[in-house]
Symmetry: C2
């Protein structure tokens, strides 16, 4: 009788405020780093780390190493559904709380991911480059084509220079707000620097979001058009 039965274990995992905050931050299927989750939970990185390992052994989270980051995500949509049902239940009991805030839509639109562009615009850029035949995707890997090399050189990217560094030129990076890949690697970094240099965009002071000027935004969208079909629809469905 003393041993906690199944449901108690799950309840206890969800029952800690810090863990609950981290889990709700992960609702919607985006992956977050340990550091981001620590902030979401209002705790230090060390504490978050122990919480995350508990959640992982409890089967609520999965971990995905990516470079020197560790991305955590809900194990599957079963977890999401469970959390959602609990939240729905809580709402009926008057356990209502301060709405979780607008979630910084700017962050979802465009933000810096280590050193390259991420968010809606980051995903769009990679999609567009692939669609244009500038980058070919084989499995997880990305390769710059000759056509792409010419194209990028024309907008001021020193591709041959990038090739000389040890850092991989192209790399796929999981985007947590879109749950799709965006472009990392030295090319991704170079592209973002390029936008900064041209004055199309700048970093926000106190957040990781990237702020485009209206002119820069216009140019960016023109430079990286998007297939009429898939993307927009797909993208809108995520948040709203």
């Amino acid at each position: 009788m003393k041993e906690g039965p199944d449901v108690a274990q799950i309840g206890a995992l969800i029952g800690d405020p810090a863990r609950a905050n981290m889990l709700t931050a992960l609702m919607g299927g985006r992956a977050l780093t340990a550091t981001e989750l620590a902030a979401a939970g209002g705790i230090t990185l060390q504490t978050a780390s122990t919480h995350l390992s508990k959640l992982e052994t409890g089967g609520l989270l999965v971990q995905r190493k990516q470079g020197r980051h560790r991305y955590f995500a809900l194990a599957d949509d079963g977890v999401g559904k469970l959390l959602e049902s609990i939240m729905g239940f809580a709402a009926t009991r008057g356990h209502l709380r301060h709405r979780p805030g607008p979630k910084e839509p700017a962050l979802r639109k465009a933000r810096i991911c280590y050193d390259h562009l991420a968010g809606d615009y980051g995903v769009r850029m990679l999609d567009s480059l692939i669609a244009a035949g500038a980058i070919s995707a084989v499995g997880d890997g990305l390769n710059l084509t000759e056509r792409g090399e010419a194209q990028l050189s024309s907008i001021g990217i020193d591709v041959t220079g990038l090739r000389s560094t040890r850092r991989p030129l192209c790399r796929s990076c999981l985007d947590w707000s879109e749950r799709r890949a965006h472009l990392a690697g030295s090319l991704g970094k170079a592209l973002l620097s390029n936008f900064f240099d041209k004055g199309w965009a700048r970093r926000s002071e106190n957040s990781r979001s990237i702020l485009f000027t209206s002119e820069g935004e216009r140019r960016f969208l023109a430079l990286f058009p998007v297939d009429a079909l898939a993307t927009d629809k797909e993208r809108d469905g995520v948040d709203a």
Copy 2:
């Protein structure tokens, strides 16, 4: 950030092993007394009391006073559904545990409820008495009819004697295993004593179940026949 958000509160309520045991004991919609729930949780009555009040203020339980007992039940089927979904989820994560045991089918069949017959047989008895016109049910109240008085006198119940006591003759009592009413009051007590006296049944040593002899069972079932239609079907659906 520090304050526990909605989902954490619910999780914490369910996350305690003792509370989880009590809640699972209440699954299926039966009402239980605080003492019974304390046993289910493997804790003392005091501890159970504090747990129960927490669960009640948390909106998971409702309380129903009945005589000197306090029956607790899940607040509504939303709670049941929530628990069920958590249990289902736990099952998929390998949080499986020792099956909660056969739940003592003997207890569900026939048990003593304070001083009268409860369980499947208790409900059957009252149903049968009402169907035979021995007891009339008006709202929550039960009344012995003249016909019933004659009928019961014939099997050795001193109805006039029972009438002289201050204790109500007939009373409806919520049956947690059947979630329907059974007969309490001095008449309920007298009937059970009558079965004991006749040697139809006896109390179990270490549980609240009532053990019928095969002969006693035959007589009991004959004495309290059951409408062919509703009951059997209804009854079987509960456990299996």
